[in-house]
Symmetry: C2
Subunit: 316 residues, 2 copies
Amino acid sequence: MVTLRDVRDAAKRIEGVAHRTPVIQSRTLNDRAGARVFLKAENLQRMGAFKFRGAYNAISRLSAEQLTRGIAAFSSGNHAQAVALAARELGSTAVIVMPADTPVSKLDAVREYGAEIVTYDRYTEDREAIARRLAEERGLALIPPYDHPDIIAGQGTAALELLEEVGELDAIVVPISGGGLIAGSATAAKGVQPSIRVVGVEPEAGDDTRRSLAAGERVRIDVPRTIADGLTVSTPGELTFPINRALVDEIVLVSDDELRDAMRFAVDRLKLVIEPSAATTLAALLNHRLDPVPARIGVIISGGNVGAARLAELLG
Amino acid sequence: MVTLRDVRDAAKRIEGVAHRTPVIQSRTLNDRAGARVFLKAENLQRMGAFKFRGAYNAISRLSAEQLTRGIAAFSSGNHAQAVALAARELGSTAVIVMPADTPVSKLDAVREYGAEIVTYDRYTEDREAIARRLAEERGLALIPPYDHPDIIAGQGTAALELLEEVGELDAIVVPISGGGLIAGSATAAKGVQPSIRVVGVEPEAGDDTRRSLAAGERVRIDVPRTIADGLTVSTPGELTFPINRALVDEIVLVSDDELRDAMRFAVDRLKLVIEPSAATTLAALLNHRLDPVPARIGVIISGGNVGAARLAELLG
């Protein structure tokens, strides 16, 4: 298991390296949501998403020898950039296994951080197997996107900062993919304030965690086809699932149309660029998915890596 | 004249009403600019721009009787929203004279804040005359967009907060329209740190302040045709010009294409929505208009009111 202590230790490791991102409030959002909402703007984090927190925390704990040999990772996008940047910051190198249909802006960003990219077809190939083979062949440390205690603890630092800054909250709302962000957030939030309600949000087409929690075991669904390209896993993580089963209070779903509307709201009213995966939580609030509505809600805005051309397309 | 003391007094008046906006840093921007850059994100200010600071400061100083009679204002956009919101916050009402070709998102926002709108043709009619007549007829207090000491002092509070937060800077870079923001910023910045270099940025098509400073007197140009719809004045303010003549060190120009590129950079790399007028300062840094390049640069990102549809068009 991961504990509040692990999250606090991670917070010390990333201090001065990761941004302490701002908490943003909007009267218009409060009016629309019927609550006081505090947005932890991880789209303004380094490399544009919360993922840097976990990657840096995990890689900083590797031996000097391992850092010399290098890192391997597989990711649909943001974890790739996070590992590439964290590896470079720690004087190491990274090889990233990425889906061939990853948005070009994300491929470019990973290359800019100096990492090598190996692509695969996410509808037919097993990224984890490819990455494991690469890691074995080259002696690389495999840093998974969510199923790792140091990743989970690192991701929890955003919720920890949020609670430190705004004080007690009635609920925290977090997007779910593999479950690392919400597992870390729930560990941090319930550690600091046991009464807090932890709400996860999934796209309608990618409700593997909701189904798994209902079934009491990890359920596998088809690879989700949704505009939320960061949330396309088929099944919850092995490590994250038991944590989320213990700590997550409810899961709500949002449609792709609601994600588009939430992105438009973010541009028009918040002046923030958020990626479709990050729009899940905002969409849940704008469409009153939480019942009853908590009075004070913390929200993790998970990332902003959408690219100008794709954003224009989604807003158009 | 306006003094540092006036800016500090304004800061007290707006405290707890205006947002203390975050200061944002980006490694990529630093690399591109060849400097350490601190962005004061006034696009995240209430109503989406710095203008709320000046409007609230000015309106809060009116008598109770005047607040009951109401406010009048003329503006190409953001000052309109600022006056509408500040009037509502202070229990007053507002009538705003706005160009007929104002982006719909700005008209809607002003209406949402409960103000009445009167439109005019900005290529043929005199908005100031229209507003003065209205104010006289109805007994309204006319709050001009820049030529007013309380407006100038209020706008200076953003630069004051920036210097308080990040410490000494070598330069501060500010967009220029009527000159209220830069007059207030220069007053605050040189008051706190006399050695600071104050740089103004204008669109190439709207360089009335650059020409006026060169001529030593206020020069009038044709109404500028630029995508920077917030910077389309023809001549510097009567009150702002002498302040800027005394305190502004240099003015640099940027093209509309450079504004579009800077907006795209803001979306792709900063995850911020900024309006074309606000992109001036970023464009100046990305295109190395400052020579020599100061080591530590403060930038006022003036606003984010562009609207999702227009943003998509500009990015496309």
